[in-house]
Symmetry: C2
Subunit: 615 residues, 2 copies
């Protein structure tokens, strides 16, 4: 199956051959305008091809693009995939501005069983000889069809008299409750909304609940970021004033409404036809969204307020969906392991695996899960923002101009790097930082304690007032007119970040009574994971040293989990069961915590700890 790499973000997806590039991009949640419906007429889906393994240009393309074909332009709706292809949608940016956050993730296939359905009825009007209340007529018709109806929502009753003016009515049933009634046949409009509410990004997906198909997904930056990049800053803001919790809540609800409204406009879905909503997020985001004070999360012992599943009327929270629609959130596990981690576990299917699997969702706060069908352990590691490019001198987010791959030659310390968008570098993003530190270790620029060596006179290593640094890119090569370097302090930041994560999975292995060799798989969830080089991650000890073909990058499985519980009620029950089974390990209270952490600061992980000794 060909891999399509999408610049400038570097998103990679694997798709079937014979798919048009337009469809492939759509699967990566990149929706190019295609006003003509993909018939090669409107030309709005023009993209620039960087590496081409596509079918030959069609007559339509030749007509539209003329000599631009020679400059690498194609119409995405016409070009079909043959092999690996790199496409740059940078120039389509205007129409894509909100779609640059990668929101897709691995999702196991499940049948559509959302607990909601629409039924079309033809109704006999009451007569004087047989005066029946409208509701009773509908109830009898549904009973005849085998439905067990316990109640009608007020909204359904309010719409009933008008609906009965039509020849037939469509009744929407959620469990045993009639939640909506429309005039005419609206059975084809039955949608659901899955929300992945992250600290940094919000992703929303519209799913056709009749088929289970995800129609469209899109992401935006969480606007709460104006009140702090991290959760602690936002909670500090909430502590300032009683009203600030509701303020942050409204900001995020408005953002979701805008996002959903733009998606719905694009794909022609009426928001009133969204009958079910699911939302996952970390515990703090979850609490803020539901208006629950999250400040306990920043005071020892950091308890959550609620970890139980939530079911509420979506409209009471301010979401613009059908007034009778319910919103569901799976349980949280603990203060720092939220419903998003439950969604990760659900989508990854670890909980039903025979093989011992480690799941990492790397971020400022990294959720770590270890287990199989018999035992599930989890913990949270305060890994900090280094892998998001923060606290690193030339660190930056994974956007255009960021160095994302680094190779250093043992011979002469020559540096090869690639940047997102293949432009002159402006800085270095998380995957580039991991590569750089791993390569620096491999070629001996740093030792196993992370110290930059002084035993070479290579000009790329230089001493400054604040310590030594390694020059990745000379100022002539960069877009910022200065050298891009990895400083001694940067290396230390990476060591601390990876040690936090490494300590987490080592302590989980200890609690499980297993060794690295017992691990069958390492799953890396989250958008960040998609871009890192597993070899480098292993070298620095971020992930355990197991064969790379057993390291799998899952992408945004929190979103996948939200879609799973949206589509299928059994998945919600599985999520509840997962949360009940997962044992939360408070790693900081483990007696070996400090010893393991100190060991983990080394590069690569020092083999001084025999796991057997923990058994």
């Amino acid at each position: 199956m060909p891999i399509v790499t999408i610049l400038p973000d570097g998103l990679r997806i694997q798709v079937d051959t014979e798919l048009t590039l337009l469809e492939a991009l759509r699967r990566a949640s990149i929706q190019l305008p295609a006003i003509c419906g993909g018939r090669g007429i409107c030309g709005k889906c023009r993209v620039r091809i960087v590496k081409d393994s596509l079918t030959a240009p069609t007559e339509a393309e030749k007509k539209h693009l003329d000599r631009m074909i020679d400059s690498g332009f194609r119409l995405a709706c016409q070009a079909k995939l043959i092999g690996d292809t790199i496409v740059d949608v940078m120039q389509n940016r205007a129409s894509l501005v909100k779609q640059r956050l990668s929101i897709i993730g691995y999702e196991p296939s499940v049948e559509a069983k959302p607990g909601i359905m629409k039924v079309y009825l033809k109704i006999d009007k009451p007569t004087l000889e047989n005066v029946k209340p409208y509701e009773s007529i509908v109830r009898e018709a549904l009973t005849k069809l085998g439905f067990n109806i316990s109640s009608f929502s007020l909204e359904a009753l309010r719409k009933l008299p008008k609906a009965l003016k039509y020849m037939g009515i469509t009744v929407t049933i959620d469990g045993e409750e009639v939640i909506d009634i429309d005039g005419g046949d609206t059975r084809s409009s039955l949608y659901g909304l899955a929300i992945d509410l992250g600290s940094t990004k919000i992703a929303a997906f519209i799913v056709d609940l009749s088929t289970g198909e995800t129609l469209y997904g899109d992401g935006i930056v969480n606007p709460q970021i104006a009140y702090g990049e991290d959760i602690v800053s936002r909670i500090s803001y909430i502590l300032e004033s009683e009203e600030n919790l509701e303020k942050l809540r409204i900001i995020v609800v408005d953002a979701i409404n805008d996002l959903v409204s733009s998606i719905c406009r694009m794909i022609g879905v009426d928001q009133n036809s969204i009958y079910k909503v699911t939302l996952v997020g970390n515990t703090a985001m979850h609490h803020i969204f539901y208006g629950i004070d999250p400040t306990s999360l920043v005071y020892s012992p950091y308890p959550a307020v609620s970890v139980h599943p939530i079911k509420a009327k979506a409209s009471t929270l301010g979401l613009n969906v059908n007034k009778s629609a319910y919103i569901y959130s799976p349980p949280n596990i603990a203060g720092f392991v939220g419903a998003d981690a439950v969604a990760d576990i659900l989508a990854s299917r670890i909980y039903e695996s025979d093989e011992l699997t480690l799941l990492l969702d790397i971020g400022t706060n990294t959720e770590i899960v270890l287990g199989d069908r018999n035992l599930l352990l989890c913990c949270s590691a305060a890994s900090g923002p280094a892998f998001e490019g923060m606290e690193i001198r030339y660190g930056m987010k994974a956007v255009e101009g960021a160095i994302e791959r680094v190779k250093i030659s043992s011979n002469g310390l020559n540096v090869e790097y690639t940047t997102i968008g293949s432009v002159k570098p402006r800085g270095i993003c998380g995957s580039g930082i991991i590569d750089a530190v791993a390569e620096m270790y491999r070629v001996g620029v740093i030792d196993s304690r992370g110290a930059i060596t002084d035993r070479t006179s290579n000009p790329r290593i230089r001493s400054t007032a604040t310590g030594r640094e390694f020059i990745l890119a000379w100022s002539e090569e960069t877009a910022i007119g200065e050298d891009i370097v990895i400083s001694q302090r940067d290396v230390r930041e990476v060591q601390k970040a990876k040690a936090a994560i490494e300590t987490g999975w080592l302590i989980l292995l200890k609690h499980y009574g297993a060794r690295v060799e017992d691990l069958s798989k390492v799953l890396v969830a989250g958008a960040f994971g998609t871009y890192i080089n597993p070899e480098s991650a292993k070298i620095i000890g971020l992930i355990p040293d197991i064969p790379s073909d057993r390291v799998v990058f899952l992408g945004n499985t929190a979103g996948s989990g939200a879609r799973l519980i949206l589509k299928n009620n059994d998945e919600m029950n599985k999520a509840i069961d997962i949360a009940r089974r997962v044992k939360y390990v408070e790693i900081a209270v483990d007696p070996d915590f400090h010893r393991i952490y100190l060991s983990s600061l080394g590069i690569p992980y020092m083999e001084l700890i025999g796991f057997k000794s923990f058994k």
Copy 2:
């Protein structure tokens, strides 16, 4: 037990001796200001006594009232009841303006079992060694006490973190749901609100759900009256524009909120401590309150939209009570027999009686129920507004100056009457009209077809251009400077009104297969019933001719039914069972309808219909 008659409305209540007049008035929902707490200091509860059977004036009264005692004034907080007393609160009108509608009614005694309770818990804070989410700590404490908790409302979760700052917390549980959490011990504040939503008046009652005691009730005029006295006019208004339904809904919700707020202020109850609401009303009022279009009720075959019980969050309807509180309405029976009739049946206990009982709730639309524990039949009669004083030349509402009792001597046709407030008459109210027509028949002023006779030369009978009329009060006696008369047309209106009702119960008797002689009891519900003279009602055929001691006036049983389902969940189940069991009879389609109606126009009921023939 002494009877207290309260002028100007003529409300009568029976109370224990030794009660102060202030307490007696309070039981009749007349709340006089008593700023000093009933210690005879503030003097705000001064009332005028018309007929005195009270304890002697106290020193406090002597000091306060001085020579006013001789003019019949007393302090209600000081004077205790010895025997029957008549008190006039007319001069207290300013503080009573909203309380002049009689809202009390017979209510069987039931235990408090509202399905809601408060539990006080002392909570151990989470520790690092045992980090538990707040909700889980509360759940465990409740489980230990034997509660089965399925969920927490979002409101409860929102209040949980702040509540935990107290030494202990109070948890409010509705069924299996935790609906509220307060810091400290608030167990003594657990209230319910029962609403009787009539077309003309709205009554609200605050009940202490721990004890089942009704703390206070009050009534106001339904402000929708500005959009039409009767239901048909209000529905016409709704038909004018899409927004008018919501407009009428908001008007009534605002009125209820104002009423409840004034009651709560008076008795010192926090509206947030109202955790359960019940509402009864006729089908049209019920539909409008819940925002359900009632227009089908005015088009043949007049179906209701919904007759099923309703449960909804009170706050989503705009009621200012606890945000998690639910509002419940018992089922309606049919388009013209609403949840208020179910409440009447519930409060009267007909459905469990061994004796065949007839229940009438007389109004513009009269609900009629006939039955016993085995069979319940009901119908609705379009009796029109004659008994409310409308369509009657000198008709008026039952307020000060209305003739409410009439006696005519056979010898010389001398008229004795009493007016509400014992003032000069301004007109005649429903009970006076029934008395007048019955007396006119008894002394031969009208014949059995209702024609005013010409066979006497008594000056009280005179002919005019529009027909004959009978003079009740000469202009010299009246407050309006003209004679108050009963015209031939007035008699016809009374005949039509009573015939509609009489036809209703006759057809129900026919359907039941019973005769008037089989009736054990006649129950008259509704405020109007309280004031009518049963002998007169029997003479004109408004109620069946059975011994007067078996005619019982129940007062506002719709309000009683609302309080019963508020206090005790079994009562709600009984109401649902009643609605299921009651058989609605569409009297207009009965083949004997026209024959019975024409017979019923006569005074008294003509015995030409042998009920046995129907068997």
